[in-house]
């Protein structure tokens, strides 16, 4: 388990994942908005959503995965929901709009 900054739903995070390609190991980054946290204990996961080239991508990470090198919080957001599913139907600017703290 790598270094994990405290984050919550609504935060914009950058997740550094270790990827294995044959023998080589490299780090992959995934940046986006945390729209969901689920589970507890070792099975806790969080979902990061980003829109790239107009296509929404959601990735679910196990929080305690040994492949997570680092989680960096880019921006803290203020939200009034535990799950930000309402962002899914949105397009353009409003798709990522979350108030900053």
């Amino acid at each position: 388990m790598g270094e994990i900054e405290d984050f919550n739903v609504g935060d914009k995070v950058r997740v550094f994942m270790k990827m294995k390609e044959g023998e080589k190991e490299r780090t992959q980054r995934f940046e986006g908005l945390v729209i969901k946290q689920s589970g507890k204990g070792i099975s806790k996961t969080f979902t990061v959503r980003r829109v790239s080239y107009g296509i929404g991508i959601e990735r679910i990470f196990p929080l305690l995965s040994p492949n997570i090198e680092k989680i960096h919080v880019v921006r803290h957001g203020k939200v009034r929901r535990a799950k930000l599913y309402y962002l899914r139907g949105r397009k353009g600017k409003s798709a990522m709009r979350v108030k900053e703290v």
Partner: protein
Amino acid sequence: MKAIIGEKVGMSQIFNDNGVVVPTTVVRCKGTTVVCKRTGDKDGYDSVVLGYGVAKHPNRPYRGIFKKLGILPVKIMKELRTDNLEGISVGETISISQFEVGDKVRVTGVSKGKGFQGPIKRWGFHRGPMSHGSKSHRTQGSLGASAYPSRVWKGKKMAGRMGGQKTTIKNLAIAKIDEEQNLIYIKGALPGVRGSYLFIRS
């Protein structure tokens, strides 16, 4: 042959070396002892009787047996056929260190009781049409031929009590061993409710 008795704690998950999640069942194995040995000369076959836990309120005959053996009365017992009785002594504690990660084991336990169930759930029968005037939704179809045998064969699969039966699952891999807390993590699901007794052997 490796064997131990344990108590089901519940299910969890662990990450393997590649970071992949492995679903596991946690079994607490503390206090398995050798209750007695059966030998070919005396009993006609070789085996070891293993016991687990300490019985809270053993009755008199039960107490008598254990007094003779010189050990505390156990909660449950399991017999294990074996060829090699050497090096095993009565009263000896069996530890989980005999197992290794990656070992294939078979686990015996009593499955969860499901109550009175219909033939669809109990035996996997197909259901009837739900519409088009059909009235046989979840009922069983034919029970057999007519003129011969003019009755229902014994053992015909029908609705009834399901679960609560002795179940053995084979070829389960040990994913992790925690010797400090006497816990074995076995990949996959195991029969029974939490707290039920499980017999693990290779």
